[in-house]
């Protein structure tokens, strides 16, 4: 969303992670891809399955993770 969309160049993507991975591992994996991904903050706010979640949240097959840039609604 917003500025992060330009980092990813896409609205959605699938990422394979080892069993037992947490949200922080997904962030690290994406940032390793380099280029525009380096602009993703190391500790972005994120949501797992439509709920705000901590970086330590364990991920399971099929979870939807969204990185949430600072919001500015209203």
């Amino acid at each position: 969303f917003a500025s992060y969309r330009e980092i990813a160049g896409a609205d959605e993507l699938r990422v394979e992670l080892p069993a037992g991975a947490v949200a922080a591992d997904l962030v690290a994996r994406l940032r390793e891809r380099g280029e525009s991904w380096a602009r993703l903050p190391p500790s972005p706010a994120l949501a797992v399955n439509l709920e705000y979640a901590a970086l330590a949240t364990p991920l399971r097959e099929g979870d939807e993770v969204a990185f949430i840039p600072p919001v500015s609604g209203g």
């Binding site: 969303f1 917003a2 500025s3 706010a45 949501a47 439509l50 709920e51 705000y52 979640a53 901590a54 949240t57 969204a66 949430i68 840039p69 600072p70 919001v71 500015s72 609604g73 209203g74």
Partner: protein, 144 residues
């Protein structure tokens, strides 16, 4: 008593929202509109583009309204946020609250707009009159 929370690309009709909230036991009705201004931080603004993680935004708005309803004795509430391109003077958000007594309507309305700005996954991109555009990010949300 079902509260209404949604994100839409259509223009917002605040009066209709408010009328939909008022029932015979309500003595007060309050409508807040956030409106696109012609400037921000001293720069002239021509339009705003709003983007949202819509399914999550509707869920978060529903949570905020439920919190307000449990905290204050209010009747029906409605919250609508518009997305897409908006011109100056157009409402971007409407919050309607009806309640038996006025104090609770003010409190609940204020709570909803403050929390919406902190937590709803919605973003505005300002389009300046000089042609430049910029995403704004004011509040960092997160797990609570």
């Amino acid at each position: 008593m079902s509260d209404l929370c949604y994100v839409t690309r259509d223009p917002i009709d605040g009066a209709a929202l408010l009328a939909g909230c008022v029932s015979a036991s309500d003595g007060a009705a309050l409508l807040f509109l956030g409106v696109v201004r012609d400037h921000n931080d001293g720069r002239p603004v021509g339009h705003l583009d709003y983007d949202a993680y819509a399914v999550m935004a509707e869920r978060v708005l529903g949570e905020i309204v439920a919190e307000a309803s449990s905290r204050w004795r209010v009747g029906r509430m409605a919250v609508v946020h518009r997305i897409g391109r908006l011109g100056v003077g157009e409402p971007s958000v409407a919050i309607a609250v009806a309640s038996p007594h006025r104090a609770e309507a003010y409190e609940a309305s204020r709570y909803v707009i403050e929390e919406l700005k902190k937590r709803a996954p919605i973003w505005k991109r300002e389009g300046y009159v000089d042609g430049e555009e910029r995403w704004l990010g004011e509040e960092t949300p997160g797990a609570r």
